[in-house]
């Protein structure tokens, strides 16, 4: 029998995730969509689809009869709200939490990296799906790019990983806009902790073009000099792995390599002068078009990754 999920947050991310659970999940069914604005589009849509709703946040949800049946809670609110929500939820230690905010109370989770036994060991991630109560999904840009940093890390030591995420203005909701620093800081940290880079940097750009542009992500790594063909093969294998849960994820161009020679190194804040192999990977993420149209790959990669993990966390 399918287990029940609750989603807190009825904005773009929460609503998209709800649609994915209803349409695609073999293991989960929607128990309740929780918001704080009874007039939100997300709650209205849930109601039309016959899904139970709650418009009084986590406190309201805990009072509802359905609460006892919920096995996994997805939090798609904000970092600040997640601290409040998790405080309440952790009094019920059988419930698993997937955190889609940048709060990062629990460990970072990038499915293609954490669930790969070899990478998990090599990068010292200690992934434990059965005992961890709360996993953090980093950011949309992190979900798209950190697998690539890790794919280089499994071949060569990565001194520096940098990512640029370009998303359509229309796909960035008010939560994302009000907390742009949390995006850059959380992503940069996860490039180090999950991607295996000594130093991480993240950049996000909003583009308002009409019609909206599909999400693009670029990854640059500087690693020790290494076998380019091995790195190329590792990245291709990783892209295929991510595609298993995000079908619209692809390489937009062939992987580019440049030598940074010892006599002309680059100066990187925090780690100083470095030389080696620069790898450039240009990605594209086409959304599944569940809640927002296809350009919103940023939504799709986040909710697809969260759903994949939610399903794994409740496997008994």
């Amino acid at each position: 029998m399918k287990k029940k999920a609750a989603i807190i947050g009825s904005g773009n991310i929460g609503t998209d995730l709800m649609i994915k659970i209803i349409r695609n999940s073999p293991a989960l069914t929607m128990g309740c969509l929780v918001g704080i604005d009874p007039n939100s589009d997300g709650l209205a849509r849930a109601q039309r689809m016959g899904i139970e709703i709650c418009s009084t946040g986590i406190d309201g949800l805990i009072q509802m009869p359905i609460w006892s049946e919920i096995d996994v809670i997805f939090d798609a609110t904000s970092a600040k709200a997640h601290h409040y929500n998790f405080d309440k939820i952790k009094a019920f230690p059988t419930k698993k939490v997937v955190d889609l905010t940048p709060a990062a109370i629990g460990p970072y989770m990038i499915p293609a990296v954490n669930l790969d036994a070899e990478l998990n060991q090599k990068l010292g991630l200690n992934t434990d799906l059965h005992h961890t109560l709360n996993y953090n999904m980093v950011t949309c840009g992190g979900q798209a790019t950190i697998p690539i940093v890790a794919a280089v890390s499994r071949i060569a030591h990565v001194y520096y990983g940098e990512i640029v995420a370009s998303i359509a203005s229309k796909s960035a909701g008010p939560g994302t806009r009000a907390n742009i620093d949390e995006f850059t800081q959380t992503t940069a940290e996860a490039i180090q902790h999950v991607g295996g880079a000594d130093r991480g940097k993240a950049i996000i750009v909003l583009n308002p073009a009409e019609p909206p542009l599909v999400m693009r992500d670029t990854v640059f790594t500087l690693s020790e000099p290494s076998d380019r063909e091995k790195i190329r093969a590792s990245i291709h294998a990783m892209v295929a792995e991510v595609q298993r849960y995000v079908p619209g994820y692809s390489l937009h161009q062939e992987i580019q390599f440049d030598d940074i020679p010892e006599e002309n190194p680059v100066f990187i804040e925090g780690i100083g002068y470095k030389y080696g192999l620069k790898t450039t990977v240009l990605l594209q993420v086409i959304g599944a078009g569940h809640y927002l149209p296809e350009y919103a790959g940023n939504l799709d990669i986040m909710t697809s990754a969260a759903l994949a993990i939610g399903e794994k966390m409740i496997e008994s």
Binding site: E162, V164, S166, S169, P174, R177, A178, N179, I180, D181, F183, T184, Q185, K201, I203, I204, V205, L206, N207, P208, A209, L213, R216, T218, F220, L222, H252, Q253, E254, Q256, V266, F267, I268, E269, K278, T280, L282
Partner: protein, 337 residues
Amino acid sequence: MSKKQVYIQDVTLRDGMHAIRHQYDKKRLKDIAIGLDKAGVDAIEIAHGDGLSGGSFNYGFGAHTDWDWLEGIAAELNHAVLTTLLLPGIGTIDDLKKAHALGVKSVRIATHCTEADVSKQHIEAAKKLGMDVGGFLMMAHMNEPQKLAEQAQLMESYGADCVYITDSAGALMMDGVIDRMKAFQDTLSDDTEIGIHCHHNLSLGVANTIVAMQHGATRLDASLSGMGAGAGNCPLEVLIAVLNKMGQATQADVNQLMDLADDVIRPLQERPVRVDRETLSLGYAGVYSSFLLHSERAAQKYGLNTADILQELGRRKMVGGQEDMIVDVALDMVNKK
């Protein structure tokens, strides 16, 4: 016309970074800052060309960190305010605090001309630190006057003391500046100053700055010999000469500025900062001026024409910060061949 004194902000040591791939030597930068202070400019902006923490593969690593460049400058300035630039999405509030601790008293928070709401966190944080804050609406030619003014109003509501019309692509013409100035004047409170930041890609850097002033702008950006991205900014020494002839008071000394421009700045330029085929293409196609050197490098590497790459970037509506898309465009062009 107002004869009220205008506020001249120099950007040689920030926008000028783009022209030399962010490679100012620390000692040289300090000497230039001291020279500008002596010459009487009101504010001196120092940062990586793409703002605090802009050093990256995407935008180019600097010769130094922002902190190394800024360190020890504030103590040397007698007249000018030390300022910096921050682009949300690249730099963070932590970076702003570090700059503030190094004596930076004023900051501009820059967003694309339709995305002012991402600056709220940073403008509020800067005001909390007691800083003077400018909102910097980049690529201003891409938003129509009234909508741009509404974005300016958002920045004003977050606490900005001044909001800028930032013509990052050097694509605005004089009527376009005037229309935006009028919309700003009608929309913003009288207490909020209006600033103008030009690029010289259509040779209108000085003209656009002057018409903005004639329509109420009180903060004017310029740089020595125009040292800046693309065909450069409004050239500072020229602007001061023109203001002098107009009888518009400033504190700046045109002779000292001419000497600095020709004796110190021009010799640093690896690629002349001027209107030519490539930089004119920026203004003509409405492309972010900082894309210039990156596009020239991509053209060389992939055997393409710089102007073709720039025009394709314009067609794709790329905005400031999307330097990674230059290689993407170049590879698409190679694949098509």
